[in-house]
Symmetry: C2
Subunit: 213 residues, 2 copies
DNA sequence: CATCGTTGGAGAGTGCCACTATCCAATGAT
DNA sequence: ATCATTGGATAGTGGCACTCTCCAACGATG
C-alpha cells in the first residue's frame, strides 16, 4: 500500500502521516525504490491507534510516542512494560508543595488508603503519578471548599476498584503480552472518556429520577 | 484588595488576572478611582474556581466562560441551569456519521440502555453530549478491534450509576441553588481526574495482587 | 507643589503545538 | 519523451493561553 492509499483508508491526510513518520509515531514503510515505500496492515492499525490516542485520549504527540515505545519494547517483562506504559501517560498536575492544603490532602489520602487497604499504593504511593495526581486533586477541592471527606472517597475508591477488576479481566482475555500492554493503555486512555460519558449519563438519569425532567 | 494583592493571594500573575477580566471569566472590581479598583473575597474564590476549571479540568477559556455564566444565571430553575451548565462542558468528539462503525456503536449503546433501563437516556439520548460522546468512544473501540461487549458496558454503567448516586447525594448537602450548580460542575470537572486517579491506583493495586510486584 | 514609583487598562506580541503547504528530485504511466 | 505523482525535507500556519509594553492617572513623599 502506498502512502496515499494508507491516507485514504485511514482518513488521515498524507501530510499528517508524513508528520507522524517524522515524529516516530509510525514505523517507516518498506522502501521499494529510492522514492517510494510500501505500507501494510500494521501501519494502518498503528495509525488508527495513534489517532485514537491523540484525538480521543488528547495525548500530546511526544507523550504518544513515549507510550507507543513502551508498547513496542518487548525486552522487558510484562509488569515493567505495563507499568512503564501507564506511568508515562499524562496525569494531572503534581501537588503544589508550597500550598498549605497539600499537607492536609496528603494526610486524607493516607487515611483513605489505610481504610481501604491498598497496600501497594501506600508503599510506592508517593512515586506513582496517579497517587500524586490524587493528592493534587484533593488539595484543589479542599482549597475551593468543596466537600471531600474520607467516607465519600472510600466509597468511590471501592467502586473504582470494581471497575479495575473488570478492566484486568478484559485484559486477560488477550493472549500476547504486546496486546495486553496495548489494551492496558487503551483501557487507561480510551475507556476513560467512555466511563466519564457513562457517569454523566448516569447523573442525568438519577437527576431525572429524583427531580423529574 | 487591589489587583496586585489579589494576584499575591491567589498566586496568579496580574497580567493573567487582567486577561481573565478582559475575557469575562472574572467580574470587574469595584472602581474606586478612575484608575483603581477594589477586589474582595468573591473575586478570590471565583479566581480559584477559574484556575481549577482551566488547569485541573483543562477547560478552554471560552468554555469556562460559558460554564461560569450558567452558574451565575439565577433566572432559570435548577434543573435547566444544571443541564445547561453540564451540557456546555467539553465532551469527546461527536460520532463520525461517515464511518461504518458508528451504526454498530449506536446499536450497541441502544441495547445497553435497554438492558440497564435508563429511560431518560433513551428518550433524549441522541441530544445529550454524553450520549453522543459514548457512541463515538464505542465506535473508536470497535474500529480498533478492542472488545466492547454489552455485558462489560452494562457492568461499568451499573458502577457509574452508583458513582452518580454518591455525586448527587453530595450535591444535596449544599443548600443554595447556585452552590448546587457549582458543585455539579465541580463534580463533573474536578472529581473526574480524581476518579480516574483512583481507577489507575486500583489497577495498580489489583495488578500487584494478581501478578505480584 | 514637584517628583516618582505604582496601578489599571488596552493592544500587540510570544511561545507552544499540531499540523499543513511548498518545494524538490526521482519515478511510473502513457 | 512527457508529465502527473510520490516520498522526503523544510518552512509556514492558525489557534490558544497567556504575557509584555506602553500610557495616563493616582497618591505617597520631600
Amino acid at each position: 500500500m502506498r502512502l496515499s492509499e494508507l491516507s485514504e483508508q485511514s482518513g488521515v491526510k498524507t501530510a499528517t502521516i508524513k508528520y507522524y513518520l517524522r515524529e516516530g509515531l509510525l514505523h517507516p514503510g518498506h522502501r521499494v525504490t529510492a522514492t517510494q515505500a510500501e505500507y501494510d496492515e500494521s501501519h494502518l492499525r498503528r495509525l488508527r491507534l495513534v489517532r485514537a490516542l491523540i484525538q480521543v485520549g488528547r495525548l500530546p504527540v511526544a507523550t504518544a510516542r513515549e507510550v507507543l515505545s513502551h508498547i513496542d519494547d518487548d525486552s522487558l517483562g510484562r509488569t515493567i512494560r505495563l507499568g512503564a506504559a501507564l506511568w508515562s501517560l499524562p496525569h494531572g498536575p503534581d501537588p503544589d508543595e508550597e500550598a498549605p492544603e497539600t499537607a492536609a490532602a496528603r494526610e486524607a489520602v493516607e487515611r483513605l488508603l489505610d481504610r481501604i487497604g491498598w497496600a501497594t499504593s501506600q508503599e510506592i504511593g508517593s512515586l506513582s503519578p496517579a497517587h500524586r495526581s490524587l493528592v493534587s486533586s484533593v488539595a484543589t477541592l479542599i482549597r475551593l471548599g468543596y466537600p471531600c471527606d474520607v467516607d465519600y472517597l472510600a466509597e468511590q475508591a471501592r467502586l473504582m476498584h470494581q471497575v479495575a477488576v473488570q478492566d484486568l479481566d478484559m485484559m486477560e482475555t488477550h493472549p500476547t503480552e504486546s496486546e495486553q500492554v496495548e489494551i492496558a493503555v487503551a483501557s487507561a486512555v480510551l475507556y476513560e472518556p467512555l466511563l466519564m460519558s457513562l457517569r454523566r449519563m448516569a447523573q442525568e438519569e438519577e437527576s431525572a429520577r429524583r427531580y423529574g425532567l
